[in-house]
């Protein structure tokens, strides 16, 4: 039987196991929307297309599935760009469907026309303009395949209105042949043996893990290997949760706002085992002094990540999980007593942990933002999905909440997108309706996608927003404080809205906390509520995030509390 493009698209989504689509309708996609009620998947109406992509992204990060969104042409499509770039930088599998003007009008500056395939070329893993309805099923199949395999990423499919309306016989392809795309999953055995040799010579090894461990579901292997070898572990922001944050081998995050112990361990190690991380500049600091005494092993599924920023001694292009498994079996034949071998190094590292733990000045004055995050950890016992906005709130959420499981921290690591956290939390809540999802926000960031409160309210999602409200664009103010003679140009938000009233206006709950003694009871009450809520916590205004490695400095040159 012949089906329209709209029906074919929805059939394909069903075959790909898509149950939730985040989107916003418009003229170019109205035919698809016309058919949605006839299909079992749920469509979530957001209030801004950026919110749709971030929600699909949060859904993908929390669940490990491919996030899907559907928007219209022109402004609908261009509004997705920030969300797509966010997902691209963090390697999150998404498929974005954008409407397009009819093929006969493409290039005519038609109403609501934008060359979205051209616009998103640099920030998608791949993108398509479907010109013929007969190609549609294959393109959708390829899009999902590309999004979830190899190094995951966003794939955009542009759908002209006439293609969606045209009819053809529907047949979903069983398999895909793409001669130009063949990601390599299996590690090279010889390279693994080299790692084994390096390990037998090294005295001061460190594991440095990134988001790749989470996307390849390799946390168990990573944890097992680290414990077997008695090697301390640090992760990037994206890697938080890949290794249990309460394990004795855990050093904390490394990099610009990493812990003293993690950064010192990197500066002094003689072997760096990098797994699924890409040596981002926020992680390495001054590149020439990054792990400068170490041999470097780099495991990554994407060959472009290897040798991009640092010269590597043993490159291993493969899936992280398979590489860690392979390494474990290579080491299986060793008789070394790893616990004893690394005992001295562990003592040294533990010394750094003890001498400079993550901390902040505790006093009776205004509430410290770090204390709010610690309290959230205490109340939830770590059993929550945390999303963050970007800036100081993000760094405190990274430092003072212990992530013990993968996929429990959703944060825009690579692009640093303010406005990410709240819609991402909404997406995560759709993936896990029964779990507690909290967006740790700043008063600046939250205003970048606050309109999604209407989405949360209309779907009765119990998402919580905890605003660490310091009245500033805090991270920029921190830089101005430390490096620009306290010239607080344009970072003071002196006419913030009344966030409690705002929450109420949307039909959500609003709480304000100004005194330390209210912190715990009000947080407990708000988190227990079944309705979406803003908890506006008035925190110490000029608190800074420490430790801090100034941009361009070596990791071991930290400003401490």
């Amino acid at each position: 039987m012949e089906l329209t493009g709209a029906k074919i698209l929805l059939e394909c989504l069903g075959r790909e196991g898509v149950d939730t689509v985040f989107g916003f309708p418009g003229g170019a996609v109205i035919d698809i929307y016309d058919q949605i009620p006839n299909y079992p998947m749920q469509h979530v109406l957001v209030r801004h297309e950026q919110g749709a992509v971030h929600a699909a992204d949060g859904y993908a990060r929390a669940s490990g599935k491919v996030g899907v969104c559907l928007v219209t042409s022109g402004p609908g499509a261009t509004n997705t760009v920030t969300g797509i770039a966010t997902a691209y930088m963090d390697s999150i599998p998404l498929v974005i469907f954008t409407g397009q003007v009819p093929t006969s009008l493409i290039g005519n500056d038609a109403f609501q026309e934008a060359d979205i395939v051209g616009i998103t070329r640099p920030c998608t893993k791949h993108n398509y303009l479907v010109k013929d309805v007969r190609d549609l099923a294959m393109v959708v199949k390829q899009a999902f395949y590309l999004a979830r395999t190899g190094r995951p990423g966003p794939v955009l499919v542009d759908l002209p209105k006439d293609v969606v309306q045209a009819k053809t016989e529907f047949e979903y392809p069983d398999s895909i042949k793409m001669r130009s795309y063949n990601p390599n999953y299996q590690p090279n055995h010889k390279q693994l043996q080299k790692v084994g040799e390096l390990l037998s010579f090294s005295r001061r090894p460190v594991i440095y893990a990134g988001g790749g461990v989470i996307s390849s579901e390799a946390s168990e292997e990573l944890t097992g290997l680290a414990r077997h070898l008695n090697i301390p572990v640090t992760t990037t922001l994206m890697g938080l949760g890949a290794f249990p944050g309460d394990d004795p081998l855990w050093l904390g995050m490394l990099g610009m706002h990493g812990t003293y112990a993690a950064n010192m361990a990197i500066g002094n190690c003689d072997l760096l085992l990098s797994v699924g991380a890409r040596f981002d500049d926020r992680v390495t600091g001054k590149i020439s002094s990054f792990a400068s005494k170490a041999k470097i092993v780099h495991i990554d599924i994407d060959p472009t990540s290897i040798q991009k920023n640092v010269v590597v001694d043993v490159p291993i292009v493969s899936d992280c999980r398979l590489a860690l498994k392979g390494l474990r079996s290579v080491l299986g034949r060793e008789t070394t007593d790893w616990q004893a071998k690394h005992a001295d190094w562990r003592r040294e590292v533990d010394g750094w942990m003890a001498s400079h733990p993550l901390t902040y000045e505790k006093c009776d004055g205004p509430i410290k933002p770090q204390a709010v995050v610690e309290m959230l950890y205490e109340i939830t016992k770590g059993e929550a999905i945390i999303s963050t906005e970007v800036g100081q709130n993000q760094m405190w959420a990274a430092q003072f909440f212990k992530y013990t499981k993968p996929r429990t921290l959703l944060t825009s690591g690579g692009l640093g997108t303010m406005g990410y956290g709240f819609p991402a939390a909404i997406g995560a809540q759709f993936a896990f309706p029964d779990r507690l999802v909290i967006d740790i926000a700043g008063d600046g960031s939250i205003q970048m996608n606050i309109q999604e409160m209407a989405t949360a309210v209309s779907y009765e999602l119990p998402v919580k927003i905890v605003i660490l409200n310091n009245g500033y664009l805090g991270m920029v103010r921190q830089w101005q404080d430390l490096f620009y003679d306290k010239n607080y140009c344009s970072t003071c938000l002196h006419r913030n809205p009344d966030f409690v009233a705002l929450a109420l206006a949307y039909g959500a709950e609003g709480y304000r906390i100004t005194r330390q003694e209210d912190l715990e009871p009000v947080l407990r009450k708000a988190l227990a509520s079944k309705s979406p809520a803003i908890i506006d916590v008035q925190v110490a205004q000029e608190e800074n995030v420490y430790p801090m490695v100034p941009a361009g400095a070596a990791l071991t040159d930290m400003l401490l509390v």
Binding site: V117, L129, S180, P303, V311
Partner: protein
Amino acid sequence: MRHILSILVENEPGVLSRVAGLFSGRGFNIESLNVGPTLEKGVSRMTICTRGDDLIVEQIIKQVRKLVTVIKVVDLTHMQSVDREMVLIKVNAEESHRAEILRIADIFRCKVVDVSAQDLTLEITGDQGKIRPIISLLQRFGVKEFARTGPMAMKRSMQLEED
């Protein structure tokens, strides 16, 4: 160092912009680029000249390889290869210089493809070692118009060991 990359791509709309956009977006320089279809339906070959140290070129190659529409990338720099470029050059050719220009054209085995009372248009084909000297020889007569393809290249079948 100058590198010549030979790239096989799926011949579909936007593929040139994907490759060229990758270069500009990542701050790599394209010295020259030419594209043409191959005998295989749906496949084109691009030849790109670029410059950079080994690490940069390694990164360029990997990034290009990563594009979904790219089938194969070969760096011909460290191989024995043949490369050819075509140049069309319209030079001033007053009566007094005409004979000399034709003599140069003859020595370099170029073709005269157009003539007028004031100028001569030559077609030059060859590698960089040939094209550079002839351009510099012709420049002193005054060049009115100039077009070049950038090199295209192919690996030699026999890769003989060099001493």
